[in-house]
Point group: none
Chain length 412, copies 2
């Protein structure tokens, strides 16, 4: 199996002014055609450092991708480093120069003299067309390795990868097919899921099952590698079944689905509507639901009743209930959900009240305490949670957990 | 001057499932205290590869940061690699185990046995407290280098860096003083701002002025380098004044301030309250306002009136107004703001209605068309905007623009 290594070039990456999204994008695209990325190096705009990275990457992989440093200004030195690594010189390519000049002509501008340097590529290498900008890419084969340099601007890099690089790579990948499946889970931690899956998550196994967590959502990625696509597909499907068996209702979706998308789809199918009444989540829950295009088919009303009087005036939560149990209580969560459903006339409603912190906690009611209530024709269910993390995490976690409670409720 | 190198650990980084934001965050924070990051390595969850990265980083820098691979599952091997690089063994730290157990106890859960491994750190190293999760960090000095391993979860990494690592680094930095100032702007594009600033933004200038844009917010970073802190401070202050003179009311704040924070602070100072009525932004505006701790001092009511009937029943928007002008219109935005202010009894209210897309557009009303209205004692002001981008960008842009309109209104 061929392997790849990535070199990300740019002082702005090291200084943290720019987050490197190119490496992740290349990693995902390469893996999808059966070429795993095994290492990645970030270096500044410095010839010697870039050459060192080329050498390191060459010792790891068969395919080396460099991004960045192909611009027209003096700090862009990837071209020079590439040539030096190949022990060759930069040569002016008349055709490239013409293309760059045309780029400016078509925009009614004169080519700044600085841009001429972009028409130079290492002798013996091939230029890759850039339809979005002036920096061409460079491709060369040397010492059995395929070396590719692309511009650092993500939109240009992506388009050039798809249009100019991908066709070249098919012959390079050499047969292996990779199928990737993702299962999305909610309702248990990473270590609980690892315990449930046991040996399925063993390293080196094929399919490889990988687990990542982000704000309560656990993503299990099944990567199956085989001689041909059909075989890889079968292997991935078999594992998907095993995982679903072991995880049951923890699995809420596949690929990049969100909880809001999954519950939204179900609501649309059933032609039912939902309203939400939020306190501590302050609009996060409504936002998650309306992030989904077409949410107006099922989402009609949201309230952010942040003050106690708003809870009473807008949702009809009895003031004595708040006085007796406090605004963060099972009773108030329930009254919020019931009030919202009644007022909106929807099939379902969710009420959320809690303490997002950092202030507002007491001994009995710590930061992270949240009550979530789901009301429907089948009655009202309220649960108590304690979420950890900062204010933002607690709020998002509470909103996601509310969607998950609702998802499980809709099943029946 | 001390230099740093970063090692980002995780298969999910190489496969592109996760974008590495930690490296950029560390790069920025380290530079701000005068420690430039000179190289960065990304490696999979593999002991030998991690050790190789430790060796490479040691040849580049005095300070080595590793992130990721400290979780409780079998694929997390940073602890082992760290110990092996130090030529030592992992030791169980009873205190750490107690802390991890307490983490679960405080959440009414039993510690899964898998988590016990997180209480092991290399002999002779120091554990760094993690108040948000179960993975402690590790710090060790060896061969004249300072080595630090932090969890990969960005929120945990950031907090641990600020709370546990930064104090240790001050003594490590030495030499050159760097002062960084940020100015936050809203209401003009990046190229407009570049034109206003002219030669101030020249590369190689000291202080260096850098400009980044994210969803309408323009951040200008002034980086002043000098022999001592006082001198650097003076240089940064002088530039800040020049920038403020040139940009006027485009500047809304400093450092990491958000628009919501700035308007919230002003509301709290003036002891005034605000309510919001949202349609297309679907809770985004309420969320931005309530992202700020203590928002309950000034934010009382939010409505997400997604359906037309909700606009009428909850905010008193006359049905004939919607029928005549459409729900996305100046008149409806105004009626939403006025209705919300009246119903909530607040000093201010904002109404937002628009088309976030991708569907719902017509020839007269394209995707991105948004009306925003701000109502107060001084009357009601409504503006029409057309935002570009996808659904998420349009929604966030509309919510931020609403806050900015409100900020400018509050000035007078």
């Amino acid at each position: 199996m061929k392997r790849a290594s990535i070199i990300s070039i740019g002082n702005e990456l090291l200084s943290g002014q720019t987050v490197d999204t190119n490496a992740a994008n290349l990693g995902e695209r390469l893996l999808s055609i059966g070429i795993p990325v095994v290492s990645s190096y970030t270096t500044g705009d410095d010839i010697d450092s870039i050459i060192r990275s080329f050498n390191l990457a060459s010792s790891d992989a068969d395919l080396i991708f460099a991004t960045g440093g192909l611009g027209p200004t003096d700090d862009d030195v990837t071209r020079q480093a590439f040539a030096k690594f190949l022990s060759t010189e930069l040569q002016l390519q008349k055709e490239l120069l013409q293309k760059i000049q045309n780029f400016f002509i078509s925009r009614n501008r004169q080519m700044p003299s600085k841009n001429k340097v972009q028409a130079y590529i290492p002798a013996g290498s091939k230029a890759l067309a850039n339809n979005l900008g002036t920096a061409p890419g460079i491709m060369a084969e040397a010492k059995g390795k395929l070396l590719i340099a692309l511009p650092g601007v993500p939109s240009e890099m992506k388009q050039m990868f798809e249009e100019s690089v991908l066709p070249e790579l098919q012959r390079f990948a050499g047969g292996q097919a990779v199928v990737i499946r993702k299962l999305k889970c909610f309702g248990a931690g990473e270590s609980n899921i690892a315990e449930l899956l046991g040996p399925l998550m063993q390293r080196g196994r094929n399919p490889l099952i990988n687990c990542t967590a982000s704000c309560g959502v656990i993503t299990l990625t099944i990567t199956a590698t085989a001689k041909d696509k059909d075989k890889a597909q079968q292997m991935a499907e078999k594992d998907e079944k095993s995982l679903r068996n072991k995880l049951g209702e923890l699995v809420y979706g596949t690929e990049d689905q969100t909880l809001a998308e999954v519950v939204g789809e179900k609501l649309a199918q059933q032609k039912k509507t939902i309203a939400v009444a939020e306190s501590c989540t302050g609009g996060c829950l409504a936002k998650l639901l309306t992030d989904i295009p077409g949410a107006s088919r099922y989402f009609t009303h949201g309230w952010v009743t942040y003050s106690n009087s708003a809870k009473t005036s807008e949702l009809g939560v009895p003031a004595h209930l708040i006085e007796k149990h406090g605004s963060v209580s099972e009773q108030v969560a329930q009254a919020m959900a019931q009030g919202a459903r009644k007022r909106a006339g929807t099939a379902f409603a969710i009420g959320v009240t809690g303490i997002a912190g950092p202030t507002g906690a007491s001994e009995q009611k710590p930061v992270g305490l949240v009550y979530i209530s789901v009301d429907s024709d089948n009655g009202c269910e309220t649960k108590r949670f304690i979420f950890s993390g900062g204010r933002g995490t607690i709020r998002l976690r509470a909103a996601q957990t509310a969607l998950n409670m609702f998802r499980l409720k809709m099943r029946y």
